[in-house]
Amino acid sequence: MIFQMKRSLVLTTDPIEESSLVAGRLLSEAMGAVVYFSGVVRGTEGTTSILGIHYEAFAAMAEHQFNLLFDEIANRWPVESIRLVHRLGWVRVNEVSLWVEVVAAHRGEAFAASQYLIDEMKKRVPIWKQTR
């Protein structure tokens, strides 16, 4: 079951090109639901205006922890594929720092899996931010 779910994980200092990512979507004829999440750097942190956020990762551990999470999702929901891109380094306000795509047959599992993925990564995946 675990290995039937396709995964794509990218940690990158390049801007996240959402349109190209969406255009490159693959899904089989049995799939009916795709959920995307784009996390965007907000212009304020608390009450302070910021210019952007610098993201630092313990990259090898981040990849490993993402893969453990993907395994959990594959065991729990019939998801056909997950693609996740997390930006590292300097990300300006209004730019996307996290992009997630979850493809499933039905929307219930696509929404549940994508929310679980984001909630859990924020607890476990070793990435930190520093506002500037």
């Binding site: 990762a57 551990m61 070793p126």
Partner: protein, 81 residues
């Protein structure tokens, strides 16, 4: 034995380094390693309740028994996304 310890995020600022080597007993838990670390880097002690601990690429509890060549990482709560 000697254990290498890596720091991430503002733990680098608290310790002034990204990596250090700590000398510990041959039978040593992470809890005991942390006590050695706090002597060397007193600023870390205040963070101990929120410190996350990994050995290699996996999280481990303070009761974990260290092995030769273990790479320990200490860092504050993660904030990805």
């Amino acid at each position: 034995m000697t254990i290498s310890v890596h720091f991430y995020s503002y733990f680098k600022d608290l310790t002034g380094c990204t990596e250090t080597h700590l000398e510990v007993a041959e039978v040593c838990t992470i809890a005991q390693l942390l006590e050695v670390a706090f002597l060397r880097f007193p600023n870390l002690r205040a963070m101990q309740n929120s410190t996350l601990i990994a050995v290699g690429l996996d999280y481990q509890p303070k009761s974990y028994l260290l092995k030769k060549d273990d790479q320990v990482s200490l860092f504050p709560p993660v904030q990805g996304g």
